[in-house]
Symmetry: C2
Subunit: 345 residues, 2 copies
DNA sequence: CGAGAGTCCGTGAGCGTTCACGTGAACGTT
DNA sequence: AACGTTCACGTGAACGCTCACGGACTCTCG
């Protein structure tokens, strides 16, 4: 085999000398049959002599022919592609949501193209610009406001993850933070805690903080901003740093609620490093229910979310949008967390 | 607005009464312009009067027109789609690899459609059947042998993850288990360990076990199958169960090497539950370098892999295949793990 | 006032498939 | 011998879009 054999085999010469991918026509010519016969061979349809079929396939192999998915899509309708935009694949929460999306999509025969926005609004827009051209619907977490999304959406249906109904005019699925915090606070207050802090996430006052404040008020606890510290990132390190600050401003807290499990784990680590026993001196409550929480010490008490279900629900929401039906609203689209009591609180 | 307005607005009636999605032609007709002008408007090209552009966009909005990505793809070449097949999104290892793939793909302007095979060969084949039609190249973990892959591939370039050069004729990128085990074993033996067991993964004797045996021999340690237990799944639970059996058959071990970090963590838990202190009574060594390992107690000593880099490398490998270049072989495509000593060993 | 330039818009062709037919040959049936 | 059937294959059209043209119209300026 000569060195340039591969070049010769895998493409076809143009009049201008450049090379292009082989088309069905090239295969037909080489095999001495019509396009239709090539189509029959490669698609394993009937009505073809086994011998010619073999000859066609050989020609296809030689030219490294692969049907254009675009040309196919033109004529065969029904291939659905959903876009999925995830803010941070390193946070174990999101792969699990993604798994739910993939599972539901597979069942429906859809495919999903994935995008990691890495919590960057510019990358969010890039994702939308691409996916609005390449996907039939988009599911995802977005920081950008509705108007920006709409501008980069070009009319493609969108299902937002965890953006409250008051906060968006798009269809959405999410988590009922209030229902979660109610359980969580009841647990902490029931254990005698009155001085409860919160380690909030980076995106400013969201539903979780709001629910936290609401429940604190309902339980007659002292509430003001001094009980809340912001974490620069939604990670263990972010939680560690946030907890440092919270303990500085509020050394008297006896319990802390973490925006998510990662932050809560960070809080535990800082607390112990600073000489507080968990849960005896300081109770820690997480939010997410990562399996990681069972592995740390002490095991993390948390408000568990069925993340796979959230993903499946998002796909169902997309299906409704596509069918022209009303999207799910309220409790059907808003999952309630479940308190899982382990040892950290 | 009447109840059927939405129907009317979002689709176009066919002669036979059914409805289809609006095309560029429908928009042109409604706006009283030509297809080309519609194209100019929706693609934000120049050479169009702002007023007519507005009129066209309004018509497009009314008909809920979105350009067919297939028709676009037909004429505008260059959109590359890669398929990524992951065995288990719940294992934190794989999202990190995926993140690397997504990162590199984004840089090249490619998109990636993801598939979770959930360690099921039938699902692997489904993935290939779909992706071979919809993707320009495929990256992934596969259990199925080469012939099966080839049969469902239809000529699409494939880059295998972690399948050794001797084990496949496809291009691949992976991890140099031997280089890792050399460091790991040196560490354990250097600490005085002579009776070292292994918790192997579910897929039978792979490179990691082979490297383990090799190094054990090189260090003059006793080696036979009694020092190895199989884990039914690559998870903490799998590691726990495997460790139970290993401690039953080999109560005299002083160190154990886990197939991956999850299994190693499981091993630690079982060891401690059975009254052995880690690392004093039993040293535990992991493989993967999940960030989880820093969080458990004691912190896991492990052979760390740059998983993102592995993902990026896979994309680079695909790029080579597509360019007709020789794929990377040897050290360039086979990442060496790095021993990260923490406290478990 | 006519030539040239600029602005806006339309026309035909072509992208690579598949689908619904149409055709011709070989074979059997009455 | 005339006719239907089956098999293997080919032909034209259609899918929805963009690109390279070209045409009409307005504006400017010598």
């Amino acid at each position: 085999m000569r060195a340039d054999d591969q070049q010769w085999e895998t493409s076809v010469e143009r009049p201008d000398g450049t090379r292009r991918r082989a088309t069905i026509h090239d295969v037909a010519k080489l095999a001495g049959v019509s396009r239709q016969t090539v189509s029959r061979a490669v698609n394993d349809k009937g009505e073809i002599d086994p011998a010619t079929k073999e000859r066609v396939l050989e020609a296809a192999r030689l030219l490294d022919y692969r049907p254009s998915r675009f040309a196919r899509g033109m004529v065969q309708k029904g291939a659905v592609t959903a876009g999925l935009v995830i803010p941070d694949l390193m946070n174990p929460f999101f792969p699990e949501v993604a798994a739910g999306v993939l599972e539901a999509a597979e069942q429906r025969g859809w495919q999903v193209v994935m995008w990691d926005s890495r919590i960057d609004e510019a990358r969010e827009r890039d994702a939308l610009d691409v996916l609005s051209h390449q996907a039939d619907a988009i599911i995802g977490y977005f920081k950008s406001p509705d108007e920006v999304l709409a501008r980069h959406l070009g009319g493609v249906p969108l299902v937002l993850l965890e953006r409250g109904p008051q906060q968006t005019r798009f269809a959405a699925v999410g988590i009922d933070a209030a229902a979660g915090l109610e359980q969580g606070m009841a647990h902490l207050v029931g254990a005698g805690h009155r001085r409860i802090g919160m380690l909030d996430g980076v995106h400013g006052p969201g539903p979780r903080r709001q629910a936290f404040l609401e429940e604190a008020r309902r339980n007659g606890l002292p509430v003001d901003d001094s009980w809340i510290a912001l974490c620069a990132e939604h990670s263990v390190a972010g939680g560690e740093a946030g907890m440092e600050r919270l303990l500085d401003t509020r050394p008297d807290i006896t319990a802390v609620f973490g925006f998510n499990d990662l932050i809560a784990v960070g809080a535990m680590r800082t607390a112990r490093r600073r000489g507080r026993r968990v849960p005896d001196d300081l109770a820690v409550l997480g939010f997410d229910g990562l399996s990681l929480g069972e592995l740390v010490e002490p095991a993390l008490t948390t408000l568990h979310i069925d993340k796979r279900r959230l993903g499946r629900l998002a796909v169902e929401q997309v299906a409704r949008l596509r069918a022209g039906e009303e999207p799910l609203r309220g409790a059907d689209a808003w999952l309630a967390p479940e308190l899982v009591v382990r040892t950290s609180a």
